[in-house]
Symmetry: C2
Amino acid sequence: MDILISEVGLRDGLQSIDRVLDIEVKKSWISAEAAAGVREIEVGSFVNYKALPQMADTAALVQFAKTIPGLTVAVLVPNLYGAKSALEAEVDVLSIPVSASETHSKLNVRRTHKQMIEEIRDIRAVIDELPESRRPHFSANVSTAFGCSIEGDVPVATVVDLAERMLDAGADEIGLSDTTGYADPRAVRERVRAVRSAIGKDKLLGVHLHNTRGLGLANALAALDEGITTIDSSLAGLGGCPAAPGASGNIVTEDLAFMLEAMGCKTGIDLEKLFEVRKVLAGGLPDEPLYGFVTDSGIPLGFSGSPQV
Amino acid sequence: MDILISEVGLRDGLQSIDRVLDIEVKKSWISAEAAAGVREIEVGSFVNYKALPQMADTAALVQFAKTIPGLTVAVLVPNLYGAKSALEAEVDVLSIPVSASETHSKLNVRRTHKQMIEEIRDIRAVIDELPESRRPHFSANVSTAFGCSIEGDVPVATVVDLAERMLDAGADEIGLSDTTGYADPRAVRERVRAVRSAIGKDKLLGVHLHNTRGLGLANALAALDEGITTIDSSLAGLGGCPAAPGASGNIVTEDLAFMLEAMGCKTGIDLEKLFEVRKVLAGGLPDEPLYGFVTDSGIPLGFSGSPQV
């Protein structure tokens, strides 16, 4: 089984760290991770740079990443305005998050569900103006899909309804994001099944998980069991809250890649090379805690990885 | 689904820490965890106390723990000599580990598989001399069941063969232990299935997992999916290597209990009360890192736990 690990550390990881990482370090990170076999990297987001100066170099990073053969270059956009910049930069994948919690959506991007659906429709229209060969893959992700730290429980029906409307508005594919680290394996199974039965199996391929409560890899396993084939993760679990030891943000790319390879899934990743990329981060973000387990304990003796199957 | 969390921190956790925890702190730990709803606690082991002074108070702890209503009091024994002490102390559960890696077995307890099987046979004979009402549950665990840091790969056939021989020699039940943190979800499924198909489903009920490579809860999920109903874990993941940040030893009781309750499994545990028990550890082992995620991030807003199902 081929599983795509999509590295989101440069976007989701860095946006939650105050320090702005130097663009040369970011380039080294992208190069090294691509050289380790990571096939998709979300290099940044086209957002308001006054609010998120960490993302100000996204266009330059897209330009750089596009020179790496075989690498899928992804970005996040919050709205049509960001999408236009992404299209100008000729990204391969463009994704927009829509929060299932409307309270969170209003606070985060000052838009209701209805307004976000309109945004998706407008982005679709702009993409369709491009020649077919230049149209990026357009993904729309349901964020806070497993619960919201403001609203609490998010009903499955809300997630399904939103997924249907986002697809109808023109997204190529839907993803589910556990923005708040509220998911558990049962909820992952339940929600993946519910959304897939509403929009079709081939329209929900990816999940974005956080390890806030330590269940990240168990949730990833539940997603794999349901047939999910794309999993977002962040090198060294970047983006964890420094005030909470061990409470990493995104699931750790190194541990995820190790789990998948150990299970006989093919990620295309060379684990030892991937582990080396941490040095780039350690150099560029000297005060930032780097999370992960397998990088401390090492690969098991006699580990043969995916060729077992 | 009822799942039994068996707390092993007082044995597996403390044996890997140099400092000897004061018996009064151990008693507070046992009381507090039992009060939080933990139904089985391995309070120590009857081993050579010159080699493991941390375990010298095991008999006194058994005596204390037996006064707590409803608590199952378990101990580990390496041999017949230890088993006799355990029987004298009138434990509820007595378990003996046998390493699937014969190299590890020889180094660890200076005995071959054949000698360990004889040990089990001898323990069975001594148990059977007791009146039926006073016989403890006798569990034999295959340690290094997922790989060995000396031998590397441990063949499934070796694990199955050992399980069969241990049962034949008189163990009531077999457990599988990932002593080295080498397991992955696929291996857990494969080995649980293989052993169960050889010895019967009702003869393999428990697994003992480490979180060395971060896969602990994913492995626990794989075990649950196979119908395993007893999972060992350690409060605050005690027993981690202090040289490897984040690389906890056993899986963390708090995170495991949270995962199970979130999934709708019944553990009988009050999560908030369980989290409070960490203070006992923090007081008694001030320099020891306490692992776990959910205790840092807190229970999700609106979390309803197992009553959902």
